[in-house]
């Protein structure tokens, strides 16, 4: 290997040219073939039972996410101006190609089931906008007396009314999103305000805001990294080459993705983050070695210096990269495809970075010459500092061990507090428009989020059975009554109760499920004859064997959804006795399950990769004990960063969960370089000196690496998008903990176990 690398030194231009050409080819392929996958449904594992069921249920009942447009008039909604807007906007939405006509619900489209002394009417609330006060008042009374609409389409204080436009996930595009917002804007007047909310809007805003913010922040992050890299390496050439390693490896990872035709998922945007954190490490270690060599041998020729660098560094570079890559490949155990891809392509990127570090950096030095070693004095001071630091670490071993144990214990307690959040809304600032709009609608209506409970019976006609419908009604009342978060529920029972009341002269005492199953069947026939039967098929299937119960919730937060699920589950026994099974559907529920899956996969892969890393390190260093010691920085980093998340109330979500992968990548890097140096330095036979030399060499490089990446990612703290801020914090935190863990705990463990020294005695 070393020979091969040395041979390459003779043809640096070819190495450089080939690197650039292949990268350029990948870049062209990327331009041609890369596409973002924004449909969240595509992220879900299609073969998971919960998703299979939910997808089926979505088809049975036409369950879709709704865009909610709230029309607010502080003077009340029952006036010509407001009602005209409702009508015009409803028609506009119905005409949009992305929206099916029947999927738009508003006061203008809603059916009003009313009772009269001698019969029943199913009518529109209005067709032509009423003008006279009398007619407007009549409309207000109609709405007020219809519990299927009042508080659902018109707020109880009568100042807000909503239009709901349900859309398929796959029709949502940036243009459509902008079009909706612009359309709503068009109808605004001085008096009347329009608010747009709903899950598609939240997802859409996130899909826009996240990348837009990143586009702004990434150049700054890179600039800071380059700057700090320059300050540590003290050489423009070295800085450029190190950055090239990162840039090229990222290009290769995304280029390969384009070649094999895999779209860019949201989590794929984490690949550059990983490659920046990991990719600069090799460069820094290489240059760090080079600088130290040159300090010792100021007269050495560049070829000599590079050959020395290769001689001592090729093995640790390969060891770290291969181990890290294997760590990422362990993400293949995840059930979620985007995560699998994330693992594979990050692993590929890491290996590409390895290749560039071993070929491009030496070639670069051969072509552009050695970096100048400036400020020699300062380096020596650094050296002294490292020596002192190593000495102190070993001296205060007991103290540092105790502190570590305390921190780890605290962290484990903190991990207990970690919670998973699949909420989209929680990713926005508390005072952002989107959150405020959501709160506004939630305060006037049942809730902007929906959970669909799907009841399933083998019995055709089960949901015409009064006992079953009564149980459903009871459960609905319990959930909405007991939980403030659950604002509304809606299903077949609401139709049946309404009709029973209306057919009995609007007597409130009949707002119940009748005891006679034939009567229920006849009511339903009656509704089909006078109303729009399409509405029925949104809550019950053709055979009356499946029922869709909608719960409206005032939050999409996982805690909220789980509390509603828990309340619903209390009725499980009741339904089981009736032969009815419970399942759930809808995007909110899927997101909840999905986040669990990601986390589960992440934890599995973390454990798996830890085992693999221990074994690999054990084999590489020919000592299983070293495998365990090498795993210490990873474990500490993972445990503490999860612990801090628990204490700081940062919820786990798809992005934050993935960040624990950084712990593996960085942890391995630090451990391997450090142990390798420790082994090389152990020839002195002096334990303290070995520690000190290692600290001066690897410790120094690790510090540089940590500082560079931390400085870069701290920039994200100034992001306007909270998830990006979390990302910055957590990456920095991971880097810092890895660094501290390596130079203190791991050093102590190496020192205490006498590893390389024991071997010597044995010889």
């Amino acid at each position: 290997m070393e020979n091969m690398l040395n041979k390459l030194l003779k043809m640096p231009y070819i190495v450089l040219a080939i690197s650039i050409i292949i990268s350029a080819l990948f870049f062209m392929k990327m331009k041609e073939n890369s596409r973002m996958e924004t449909n969240l449904d595509k992220y879900m594992p299609a073969d998971h039972p919960a998703f299979i069921y939910s997808d089926k249920a979505e088809e049975w009942f036409n369950i879709k996410d709704g865009i909610i447009i709230a029309i607010e008039n502080p003077e009340g909604v029952y006036n010509k101006e407001t009602l005209d807007i409702v009508k015009a906007l409803t028609k506009r939405f119905q005409k949009m190609p992305e929206i099916e006509k029947a999927d738009v619900t508003s006061l203008y489209t809603a059916d009003n089931i009313v009772g009269t002394e001698d019969g029943m009417d199913v009518k529109a609330f209005y067709k032509k906008t009423p003008k006279t006060d009398e007619k407007l008042d009549e409309l207000s009374q109609k709405v007020k007396s219809n519990e299927m609409v009042f508080g659902k389409l018109v707020s109880e204080d009568e100042t807000v009314t909503i239009i709901i436009a349900a859309i398929n996930d796959d029709v949502f595009t940036q243009e459509f999103y902008t079009h909706i917002l612009e359309t709503a804007d068009e109808f605004k007047t001085d008096k009347i305000k329009l608010h747009v909310a709903g899950r598609p809007i939240i997802e859409g805003t996130m899909a826009l805001l996240g990348p837009a913010d990143m586009k702004k922040m990434v150049p700054i992050v890179l600039f800071v990294i380059i700057l700090v890299l320059y300050l540590t390496l003290r050489s423009v050439k070295s800085t450029i080459l190190t950055i090239l390693v990162v840039v090229f490896s990222t290009l290769w990872a995304f280029g390969l993705m384009a070649v094999v035709n895999i779209p860019i998922y949201a989590v794929s945007t984490m690949i550059p983050v990983m490659l920046i954190a990991i990719g600069v490490a090799d460069g820094i270690h290489l240059y760090s070695h080079l600088q130290l060599f040159m300090m010792k041998n100021p007269l050495a020729k560049k070829k000599e210096a590079v050959m020395d660098m290769i001689k001592y560094m090729w093995l640790p570079v390969i060891m770290t990269s291969v181990t890290t890559a294997v760590g990422f490949i362990s993400l293949l155990t995840s059930q979620v495809y985007p995560i699998k891809y994330f693992g594979i392509f990050t692993a590929f990127g890491v290996l590409a970075a390895m290749l560039f570090s071993l070929t491009l950096i030496p070639a670069g030095i051969m072509i552009f010459g050695l970096p100048k070693v400036k400020a020699k004095k300062e380096k020596e001071e650094n050296h002294k500092f490292a020596f002192n630091f190593a000495e102190k670490v070993i001296k205060y071993r007991v103290a540092s061990m105790i502190v570590t144990v305390v921190i780890v214990v605290l962290s484990i307690v903190g991990i207990g507090k970690v919670w998973i959040n699949s909420s989209f809304l929680d990713k926005f600032e508390k005072d952002s428009d989107i959150v405020l709009t959501d709160q506004f609608i939630n305060s006037h209506f049942g809730g902007t989020s929906t959970i669909n409970l799907v009841l399933d019976s083998d019995d055709k006609g089960a949901f015409k059975n009064p006992d079953v419908l009564k149980a459903v009604d009871k459960m609905q009342q319990a959930v909405v009554g007991n939980l403030e978060l659950a604002g509304n529920s809606f299903t077949l029972t609401d139709y049946v109760k309404r009709m029973n009341k209306v057919m009995n002269a609007d007597d409130e005492a009949f707002n119940t499920i009748p005891d006679n199953s034939d009567l229920i069947a006849q009511y339903l026939l009656l509704y089909e004859m006078s109303g729009d039967p399409e509405n029925l098929w949104k809550v019950v299937d053709y055979d009356y064997a499946k029922l869709n119960v909608n719960f409206q919730i005032k939050s999409d937060n996982s805690k909220a959804i789980n509390s509603v699920l828990a309340e619903i589950e209390k009725s499980k026994d009741d339904f089981e006795k009736l032969g009815v099974k419970m399942n759930y559907a809808g995007s909110g529920y899927k997101a909840l399950i999905f986040t669990d899956l990601i986390l589960e996969g992440q934890i599995m892969s973390l454990i798996l990769s830890l085992i693999i890393v221990i074994i690999l390190l054990g084999i590489m260093f020919k000592n299983i004990k070293l495998g365990f010691i090498g795993a210490v920085p990873i474990i500490i980093t993972a445990v503490i960063s999860f612990g801090i998340m628990g204490w700081a109330d940062i919820a786990l979500n798809t992005t934050t969960a993935l960040l624990s992968s950084i712990a593996i990548g960085i942890g391995i890097d630090y451990a391997v370089h450090f142990i390798e140096q420790y082994k090389i330095n152990s020839v002195t036979g002096d334990k303290l000196l070995t520690a000190q030399n290692t600290m001066a060499h690897s410790g120094r490089a690790i510090l540089f690496n940590a500082v560079v990446v931390i400085a870069g990612f701290l920039v994200l703290l100034f992001s306007v998008f909270p998830p990006n801020r979390e990302l910055g914090t957590l990456v920095s935190l991971n880097m810092f903990i890895s660094f501290v863990g390596t130079v203190t705990i791991m050093l102590n463990l190496l020192n205490k176990t006498n590893i390389y020294f024991k071997n010597k005695k044995g010889e």
Partner: protein, 260 residues
């Protein structure tokens, strides 16, 4: 004599053998009027089987016994549900008026409630009993409500047809246009395409069978398919009797409660 308004798209038609006008000379309006003015008898008794199929392929079947009689200015109709069991003997009566602008009167009797209720629906664009037929589709539309154009002549099922496009004079009408295939000389519309407000094909009606009953041509098997929702309704008439002399008193609220 004006033909009775036929509800379930049962355009019946008598071959008016004395038509001597050369087809070439017929205007589109005349063709439609010939369809409209076909004699189909004064009363009809039949068993109707209505099969609804949704996009998932699930079916619902309803069996109905129906009686229709033309009273001149009023057409009265009474239907008794036979199946499924839970709606057996539920009955439904409509009185349709020739007078323009006058809404139909409708009653329903629910045996489980033992009450007859009047129901009214907003417009003729409502779907009939969850089927793909609107009340309007089932009734006879007066020829002068639309502007008609002969598009071409075509052969369907070995029958020569006129293809006539009809565009409503009322802009608010639920269909932007309809295109009807009418068998020459028999004046039966065998196929009809309905286009929605956006001029997209919404529904297709096809007549699969018509029979000669008592000298009247009665359509006994039709299918309406909603092309946009992939939902279908098949209406199948059996035991059809024409001019059987249904009693005038049959069409009353009291009779509705009697069951079949």
């Amino acid at each position: 004599m004006k033909a009775i308004k036929i509800s379930l798209i049962l355009f019946a038609l008598m071959i008016t053998s004395n038509i001597t006008i050369n087809a070439q000379d017929l205007t589109a309006l005349q063709i439609i009027e010939n369809v409209y003015n076909r004699a189909v008898g004064d009363d009809m008794t039949a068993d109707l089987k209505m099969t609804l199929t949704n996009s998932a392929g699930k079916e619902r079947v309803r069996k109905i016994k129906q009686f229709t009689r033309d009273f001149g200015e009023i057409e009265k109709k009474i239907m008794f549900f036979v199946k499924p069991a839970d709606i057996k003997n539920t009955s439904f009566m409509t009185w349709g008026y020739d007078e323009e602008g006058k809404d139909d009167d409708q009653w329903i009797y629910l045996p489980a409630l033992k009450k007859t209720k009047r129901i009214s629906s907003d417009s003729k664009s409502d779907y009939f009993m969850g089927s793909d037929f609107t009340y309007d589709d089932l009734g006879d539309r007066q020829p002068n409500q639309d502007t008609h154009t002969i598009l071409r002549e075509e052969t369907i099922n070995e029958e020569d047809c006129y293809v006539v496009e009809s565009v409503s004079k009322d802009e608010e009408y639920m269909y932007s246009k309809t295109i009807t295939w009418i068998i020459k000389d028999k004046w039966i519309g065998v196929k009809k395409d309905f286009y929605d407000e956006d001029d997209d094909l919404l529904k297709t009606l096809s007549v699969d069978k018509y029979e000669d009953i008592n000298g009247f041509l009665i359509i006994t098997h039709t299918e309406m398919k909603n092309e946009q929702k992939d939902h279908r309704t098949v209406m199948n008439l059996t035991n059809v009797k024409i001019n059987d002399g249904i009693s005038k008193s049959k069409f009353s609220e009291r009779m509705m409660t009697r069951g079949i």
